[in-house]
Symmetry: C2
Subunit: 231 residues, 2 copies
């Protein structure tokens, strides 16, 4: 998987907050899989640096960059990878551009300093709150909450974690599951967007397990499901 495939750019993916660990890892993996990726950031300097690093790693100019609105307006798939505290303002900045698009929201409502303790946000799910805010014209899908970010950054490493995918629009979920399979991860339909409350809360459990068992990047696997989205 470290060699760049020869597939042409199939579709464009905008990653808002693509200079953080989750965003960089996803940008790297989707670019490596043949997607055209544009990193959206509030810091053009950081975005330029991150995209240059990824392009250098891949040996070709697969990743571009721009502001949030430039990125979100140019792609049918928009991915949100900002910290919880910045989630709502980032979405508000691009909300009018999102109608008809798929918004993959990776937000986990961690509330420092007690990140190993479940502290549910109002309503239970940070992602469901965004679907409610945007209305049904935007196809919000929740994913990647439980994936250790540092594992995404290493193309040679298998990510030992199923991605639980929640969303009210089943076709959008299916599209996202395929996008995830294309970067070598196993993804599963996990129900409506309300179910994101479970995957978001589970992240604090995994952080607690990392600390207790002195491991890095505990993840989850769903057992007894032989058939699933996987590359």
């Amino acid at each position: 998987m470290s060699a760049a495939p020869i597939a042409p750019a199939r579709s464009r993916i905008a990653i808002l907050g693509g200079t953080g660990n989750v965003g960089r890892g996803l940008a790297l993996r989707w670019a490596n899989a043949g997607y055209e990726v544009i990193i959206g950031s509030r810091s053009s300097e950081k975005a330029a640096l991150t995209s240059a690093q990824i392009n250098s790693e891949l040996g070709r100019p697969a990743v571009g960059h721009g502001g949030y609105r430039e990125a979100a307006g140019s792609a049918p798939i928009v991915v949100l990878t900002v910290p919880y505290a910045a989630q709502r303002s980032a979405v508000e900045e691009v909300a009018d551009l999102l109608a008809g698009r798929i918004l993959i929201d990776t937000t986990v409502p961690l509330m420092p300093p007690k990140v190993a303790r479940v502290q549910l946000p109002s309503g239970g799910s940070a992602v469901a709150a965004i679907q409610e805010m945007l209305g049904s014209s935007v196809r919000v899908v929740s994913a990647f909450q439980n994936v250790p970010a540092h594992l995404l950054l290493d193309l040679a490493h298998e990510v030992e974690c199923d991605v639980l995918v929640c969303g009210d629009d089943v076709a959008a979920r299916e599209t996202v599951i395929q996008l995830i399979a294309d970067i070598g991860l196993s993804a599963l339909h996990a129900g409506p967007i309300a179910n994101s409350a479970a995957t978001e809360a589970l992240t604090s459990v995994l952080i607690s397990i990392n600390a207790r068992y002195k491991v890095q990047g505990a993840g989850i696997r769903i057992t007894r499901v032989p058939c699933r989205g996987h590359s």
Copy 2:
């Protein structure tokens, strides 16, 4: 594991609601592992039948039965395996007997008919609400929320699901993890009782996955944790 071990009765475990699937499965497994088990039920007829069935399966009188108060008052470990709608009243009935004891609460706040959709109870966790109700003199531990009940009933079958164990009292959690290891399941420290919100909610995700992928008894495994409670 189907042969009865020769270990003497090490400790008594009371299982309230022991005539349901989870309760019967746990009674069978702990009795098989050498524990003295007493099933507590509001129906003495059902409790007598269930205990007779288990004793017959094991070939020895390992399981007794009684009312809720009789069972809870006679054991240092009390396990609650009643439906969510009956959880609070069952605890209220025995509350004055529980000081100093470990209460293992297996409750999942499913709200029929939409059991495949996360519907958080007030406060987020049904088990944390019980800890709050009882106060810190009772050592409440949350466990078994994600384990498919029918798998517990088959001694020959490996249960492919990690048990996430939450509780504010770390020593009580440790005791419960050992009790779980003794019946052949893998258990992990999953943090304070507040984290039970995650494991409870996850059950609806698993029910959703069962329906979507036409499987029975999807469970979870935590990855990248080599060292854990296991028999």
